[in-house]
């Protein structure tokens, strides 16, 4: 990410140099920006003359004032007093940077403030560093934060407007495209980062899923208990059955033993009788 940003910065600087060399030619390009922007930009917003773009920017500013009212006023001031971007390339560049960065940083601050996290370091650097290099760097850090662009439709226009407005400035298409890709990628990343903890949807869904899983867990627990109770009952029943059978068999065994004893006794009683009878019977011989 850092390396890519550096790379981007180099690209940007070279682009600005090119622009300065092409100031005389830029009148042509600015007079007919539609051709360059339409050919280069893949965004939905139609190419506009600079005045119209300014007007749109102002309308965007008003929309962003909603966010400003919600949160930070200091950066809002900065935004108000941003130099007019028509006269010079560098200030305009910076102004644009401020303009385009502010809503993002504010939104980010808004999100982060709501999350009780640290404020974004990029906004502080822009506030403190006035030289062009640092601003470009911060732009490269902060411009990839149109995450709200994907989150909110309100800011998406601003994000792409920023790209479109840069078209007359940045003549190299490759630069624009890389920037575009970069910002898109960051939009994805940051939108996920912002969405996951902050959005009420996620929380609610999370709670629901927690409740659902809790419910399911509870049901499973109850079922498991019932099943365990059945299992115990089965075991107990079988044990009782076996015990009863043992008792029954013991009783039967005892009864049979008694019977045998009785028979033995009877036999014992009969035996001597028999013997005596035999003897007596055999005696007369």
């Amino acid at each position: 990410m850092l390396s890519s940003a550096k790379h981007q910065r180099n690209h940007r600087l070279s682009a600005t140099n090119k622009n300065q060399t092409l100031t005389k030619v830029s009148s042509i390009s600015s007079s007919s920006p539609s051709s360059s922007s339409s050919s280069s930009s893949t965004s939905s917003s139609s190419p506009l003359p600079s005045q119209d773009s300014q007007a749109q920017k102002r309308s965007l500013v008003t929309m962003e004032e909603v966010w400003n009212d919600i949160n930070l006023a200091s950066i809002h001031h900065l935004n108000r007093h941003s130099p007019h971007p028509q006269h010079n390339h560098e200030p305009r560049f910076r102004g644009q940077n401020h303009h385009n960065q502010n809503p993002n940083s504010i939104f980010q601050d808004f999100l982060k403030g709501s999350l009780n996290q640290e404020p974004a370091p990029t906004s502080q650097t822009t506030g403190s560093a006035p030289n062009g290099d640092s601003t470009t760097v911060t732009v490269l850090y902060s411009s990839p934060f149109p995450p709200p662009a994907t989150v909110l439709s309100l800011n998406s226009g601003a994000g792409f407007e920023f790209l479109d407005n840069q078209d007359p400035l940045v003549t190299s298409n490759s630069n624009l495209h890389t920037h575009h890709h970069l910002s898109n990628a960051h939009a994805f990343n940051t939108s996920f980062e912002a969405l996951v903890p902050s959005s009420s949807f996620g929380k609610k869904r999370g709670q629901d899923s927690n409740e659902g899983s809790g419910n399911r867990r509870h049901k499973r627990m109850i079922k498991n208990r019932e099943s365990a109770a059945r299992s115990r009952a089965r075991k107990q029943a079988y044990t009782n059955e076996l015990e009863l059978e043992v008792a029954h068999l013991q009783a039967e065994n005892a009864r049979l033993k008694r019977q045998q004893d009785q028979l033995k006794m009877a036999a014992a009683i009969q035996q001597p009788k028999k013997n005596t009878l035999q003897r007596s019977s055999t005696a007369p011989f």
Partner: protein, 175 residues
């Protein structure tokens, strides 16, 4: 002698789920192959493929008995919403004989529990007379109590049950 609280039929919830408390009046011996069924015995479907030999006691040859075999744990013991399933119904069994001398009005269907450990209950009722009991229309949603009420069979005179689960099962399945 009424059933004690420790009786396997009570502990195994056969009395309660299928039957009302009763008194054993007649001996009932059920034998699958060489295996005599004791209450709570675990049998697999392969062991109960063919109908068992049922021998009943009693003394008066003129008394007739009805044998009912039901599975109260359909489709699964944890949720037996299709209780009960009739597996076998033999009527007009004379005392001191067995099922061979009776009238098999619902032929034997071997238990094949799809899930869980099912209790298979065999109940013996004493009929009021010969040919006073008829087969129900279907095996599903059989109710032993209702059946006994319909044909004035009163309380059972004997009962026995065994457990049956899937051939390779090793316990109840969570369903």
């Amino acid at each position: 002698m009424s059933l004690s609280r420790r009786d396997p039929l009570v502990v195994g919830s056969v009395v309660g789920d299928v039957l009302d408390p009763f008194t054993r009046l007649v001996s009932l011996k059920v034998t699958y192959g060489h295996r005599e069924v004791t209450n709570g015995l675990d049998l697999r479907p392969s062991q109960v493929l063919n109908k068992p030999i049922v021998e009943i006691g009693g003394d008066d040859f003129r008394n007739f008995y009805t044998l009912v075999m039901v599975d109260p744990d359909v489709p699964s013991p944890s949720n037996p919403h299709q209780r009960e399933y009739l597996h076998w119904l033999v009527t007009d069994i004379p005392a001191t004989t067995g099922n061979a001398f009776g009238n098999e009005v619902v032929c034997y269907e071997s238990p094949r529990p799809p899930s869980g450990i099912h209790r298979i209950v065999l109940v013996l009722f004493r009929q009021l007379g010969r040919q006073t009991v008829y087969a129900p229309g279907w095996r599903q949603q059989f109710n032993t109590r209702e059946f006994a009420e319909i044909y004035n069979l009163g309380l059972p005179v004997a009962a026995s049950y065994f457990n049956c689960q899937r051939e390779n099962g090793c316990g109840g399945r969570r369903t």
